[in-house]
């Protein structure tokens, strides 16, 4: 998406020069910097504070922005005092399960939905639409009772199942398969490719972009999820990162705020990495998520 924005139609050089800098440009940059401070500032402040040693003030009038003696003590402490490694492993497991199910099942369903004229197609669409209209929060009571009935409370499988497949991703995959021109499929057919061969050699490679969108979407959703893990996960050994951190900050043991800060920075890192690597698909994913 951002690539499209960068493109500008060819225009006379003079005109371009004039439009680039104007009297309002400094104002524009000032506003942009202000918004930058507002949007990145809090996270940066948290990061800088997490590097402060125990002798430095975090809050109040004596607090400075930059740590005088930066140290990673809080990051060491958090792994010692709480099972942060277990939280990270649990989050990774839930994310991996979610990504796997969100890519495989919607790809299969989306492919068939891009084919026309078979029995049950309309019913399938109806089910998808109904599930998209219902907000998770309005079915969580029922979901909880189901999970309990199945004996999946306090298990990672229980944390994963309700978010295992979403209709949105089926529609994203369908749209990408629909974009393959009929002529190319016809040509492959005339060359003797079977349906399975056409699917694997033609449709799948042309939908890798859509799959990456689905991967990014499901990773962020699963990593971010808080309410459902809060309902189903009970024991510390099964907590995800989000849940563990929220409990940490609420606990009455009075943890050093630096440790909580370090924890929230650790929670940001994986998503930040995914974001930097797959930024293009992230932007597309956000835009696609809006096409409900």
């Amino acid at each position: 998406m951002s690539a499209r924005i960068e493109q500008s139609p060819a225009r006379p050089l003079l005109r371009r020069r004039r439009r680039r800098w104007s009297r309002t440009t400094p104002v524009r940059y000032a506003l942009l910097l202000l918004v930058l401070v507002i949007s990145v500032g809090p996270l940066l402040w948290q990061f800088l504070s997490s590097l402060k040693g125990s002798g430095e003030a975090l809050f109040g009038r004596d607090a400075t922005l930059f740590p005088q003696l930066p140290t990673f003590d809080a990051y060491v402490t958090i792994f010692r005092q709480i099972p942060m490694d277990a939280y990270l492993t649990n989050s990774a497991i839930v994310c991996a399960l979610t990504i796997a199910s969100q890519v495989v099942l919607p790809t299969a369903a989306g492919y068939m939905l891009s084919r026309r004229g078979w029995r049950g197609r309309r019913v399938t669409f109806t089910v998808l639409i109904v599930s998209m209209v219902v907000p998770f929060e309005s079915i969580m009571v029922s979901l909880f009772l189901m999970t309990q009935e199945l004996g999946l409370l306090d298990t990672l499988v229980g944390a994963w199942l309700p978010g295992a497949v979403s209709a949105m991703n089926v529609l994203i995959m369908r749209a990408s398969f629909t974009a393959v021109p009929d002529e190319i499929e016809d040509a492959a057919f005339l060359d003797g490719a079977s349906e399975w061969q056409r699917f694997t050699a033609l449709f799948l490679p042309s939908s890798i972009g859509a799959m990456l969108v689905v991967v990014v979407n499901s990773f962020i959703t699963a990593w971010d999820d808080f309410l459902w893990p809060l309902l189903v996960l009970r024991s510390e050994s099964s907590f995800t990162v989000s849940l563990g951190l929220a409990r940490l900050s609420a606990s009455s043991f009075g943890f050093d705020p630096r440790v909580v800060m370090a924890g929230s920075i650790i929670a940001v890192v994986p998503v930040l990495v995914v974001f930097i690597v797959l930024q293009r698909w992230f932007h597309r994913g956000v835009a696609a998520g809006g096409v409900k």
Binding site: S2, R4, Y29, W45, P135, M140, L145, Q148, V165, A246
Partner: protein, 303 residues
């Protein structure tokens, strides 16, 4: 060419249930974990099932009658509606203005665009904890305000019901800014630059150009953003939980509707899943009403 019809049509699937087989896994999961529980919630709302799954006698409309008389339900509903009323206009307008600001061919815009995504990249719990620290009695916000001399005593952002709610709204808007910016940037790139240049030559100022070109050109996106932000506001739980604590502020004053549902339905001692289910149906109805209103408000039904 007959192959086209042959290829992408029903005839090639023998047996005819092959396509359904491909869809079955996804369809089953969605039916079991989404459509089913929706029907289940409605059924549950006519019973007095306990959160442990026991009991479950049919009680007719009793649950609905009691939530309508429950001040806690109305307080939570009011909070959720207030949340939407404040957050939605801000989330429709602010990202558009920001998009307008970033959408120029000046150096460094790519950097700003990426940096503005930081709040959405960070998970809600991580940013919730950041804001918890920022807004504390000793936090930087209160310290700065005191130094500047705007306030004498620290503002109790995290300990007073309505302030918790406003802080949570601010957090939602802060996160949503980066989110919806992406929507608006996509919309702006679809408006031909020539329109702006022609208007400029005709003597239209920046405000005029914004109102006559940008606003009509992004109307559908505004409608979409309004719809998503509205539904998102009605679903808020984590922000209030993180800023106001596990009780949702003192005495649950800052609880939103999902927060109320969780407490009313699933508290192992006082909970009543049937009662919570009735509130869930109310939440669903509220979402539906909002969606219909957004469509009306947006004019044509081309969204």
């Amino acid at each position: 060419m007959t192959t086209a019809i042959h290829l992408n049509g029903a005839a090639r699937y023998r047996p005819p249930w092959v396509p359904l087989l491909w869809c079955a896994p996804a369809l089953l999961m969605i039916t079991i974990w989404s459509v089913g529980p929706f029907v289940g919630t409605i059924a549950l709302s006519f019973t007095d099932t306990s959160p442990l799954g026991m009991g479950g006698a049919f009680v007719g409309l009793d649950n609905y009658r009691s939530i309508l008389q429950d001040p806690a339900f109305w307080s939570a509903t009011g909070n959720s509606v207030l949340y939407a009323i404040i957050a939605v206009p801000l989330l429709v307008v602010l990202p558009l203005l920001l998009a307008q600001l970033v959408h120029t061919r000046l150096p460094g815009m790519g950097f700003f665009r990426s940096a503005y995504a930081a709040p959405i990249v960070a998970s809600v719990v991580a940013v919730g904890l950041v804001w918890q620290n920022l807004l504390g009695e000793q936090g930087p916000v209160n310290t700065v305000l005191q130094r500047v001399g705007l306030i004498q005593q620290a503002v109790p952002f995290l300990s007073e019901g309505s302030l918790i709610l406003l802080s949570a709204i601010a957090l939602t808007v802060w996160r949503g800014l980066g989110w919806y910016l992406i929507f608006y940037l996509a919309a702006l790139s679809n408006i031909p630059r020539e329109l702006y240049e022609a208007a400029e030559l005709d003597g239209a100022g920046p405000t005029r150009r914004f109102l006559t070109i940008t606003v009509p050109g992004t109307r559908l996106t505004m409608l979409l953003v309004g719809l998503l932000a509205g539904i998102g506001s009605l679903r808020v739980f984590s922000e209030v939980y993180l800023l106001g604590g596990a009780t949702g502020g003192p005495g649950g004053e800052a609880r939103t509707l999902p927060f109320f549902i969780r407490d009313a339905a699933l508290d192992p001692i006082t909970g009543n899943a049937g009662y919570g289910a009735a509130a869930s149906v109310a939440l669903f109805a509220l979402t539906a009403v909002f969606a219909v209103l957004a469509q009306r408000f947006g004019g044509e039904r081309d969204a």
